[in-house]
């Protein structure tokens, strides 16, 4: 394991590597906080999605669906479908964390999410010794965690004091529209998006808000069955990693969302 003092340079390097990601992550956290304050659930509960679920897209789904009055099982199902990718990240990190103490796996695993995964993998890709790479991951992951919780908290506090005519409940749908529309250039993604949106509208009357889960699954299936692009998926996992919207957008800039 790394030492907080001896490996402080690697911790700091990981933290620095996380900074560009925060440009996308912090506004997303603010928007989630804002929506938590507007939703018909206790604001504290909305904020708690941060430390408990710790995955932006799933948090949005949970807050939106609870606000709309969806059945508890359906909300949980939607969150877990969205977070299934964490199993993939877990599998990738298992290679690097083999033989580490259990407490490290508990903590490092808790902090595992798209940006920390990408920044962490960078460290493990380098030929340095493993404990230095752990320090690199830790530095980035802790900065992300702190920034995320502060951003959601700030958004929640701002949102609570704003008047009703602002109709802030529309901020999240518009945010999601922005995320989705900026991806329409990719044919496979476009297919996934259009199918998911169509199924969601058509199944609006479905009981328990099951339509949302159905739409997500249909969208993923539509994307998967789309014609593969000539320049196919990058082999490196971090490039196909992503559904942390803001974070992913940065991958788009550097590589692809």
């Amino acid at each position: 394991m790394f030492s907080l003092i001896a490996d402080r340079r690697d911790i700091a390097a990981g933290a620095r590597a996380m900074l560009p990601w925060l440009i996308g992550v912090v506004p997303f956290g603010l928007v989630i906080g804002l929506s938590a304050a507007q939703a018909s659930i206790p604001t504290l509960a909305g904020w708690l999605t941060g430390p408990l679920i710790y995955a932006g897209s799933a948090q949005v789904a949970v807050i939106q669906m609870l606000d709309a009055g969806a059945a508890p099982m359906v909300v949980i199902l939607a969150a877990l479908v969205i977070n299934l990718r964490l199993i993939l990240y877990s599998a990738t990190m298992a290679r690097h964390w083999r033989g580490t103490p259990w407490w490290w796996r508990m903590v490092a695993g808790y902090l595992l999410i798209d940006p920390s995964f990408a920044v962490g993998l960078d460290g493990y890709d380098r030929p340095a010794n493993r404990s230095r790479a752990h320090a690199h991951y830790f530095g980035g992951a802790v900065v992300l965690w702190a920034a995320w919780l502060v951003a959601i908290g700030t958004g929640a506090m701002l949102g609570a004091g704003l008047p009703g005519w602002l109709q802030l409940e529309f901020v999240i749908p518009l945010f999601l529209v922005g995320e989705v529309v900026s991806k329409l250039a990719d044919p496979a993604l476009r297919r996934a998006v259009l199918v998911a949106a169509a199924v969601a509208v058509l199944s609006l009357a479905a009981p328990l808000h099951l339509g949302i889960v159905l739409a997500i699954v249909a969208g993923i299936a539509a994307g998967l069955t789309a014609q593969r692009r000539p320049r196919q998926l990058p082999a490196e996992p971090r490039q196909s990693a992503g559904p942390y919207p803001a974070a992913e957008r940065q991958l788009t800039v550097e590589v692809t969302r």
């Binding site: 949005v60 749908p173 922005g178 998967l224 990693a241």
Partner: protein, 106 residues
């Protein structure tokens, strides 16, 4: 009460996903299509949530007043396409929503 339990269970499930392979498997190669699928999860989820939210709002508002969110949506789409920035949807859409809501008969 239910709200807290839902958030707790969703969080616990997500944590178990994170720990799953770290704890269970030493070395597992994931099938390629699964890795490919992860790239579609967020866009599909976002599209579904956005479409459902807008459609539900329109149904609630009724035929005339529904024009406000629809106008905001249209302007948001155009703004994102023109600027390439996802946040343009909020900055262009919200003012349109406010103005349209104010102008439309109650």
């Amino acid at each position: 009460m239910t709200v807290w339990i839902v958030i707790l269970v969703a969080g616990l499930g997500s944590y178990l996903f994170r720990l799953s392979m770290i704890v269970l498997a030493d070395r597992i190669t994931m099938p390629a299509y699964l890795e490919r699928a992860t790239g579609f999860v967020a866009p599909a989820a976002f599209a579904a949530l956005a479409a459902a939210a807008v459609a539900a709002a329109c149904l609630e508002l009724g035929a005339t007043r529904a024009a406000a969110p629809l106008a905001a949506l249209a302007v948001a789409v155009v703004a994102v396409l023109r600027t390439g920035s996802p946040y343009a949807a909020i900055f262009a859409g919200m003012p349109v929503l406010w103005i349209a809501t104010a102008l439309l008969p109650a």
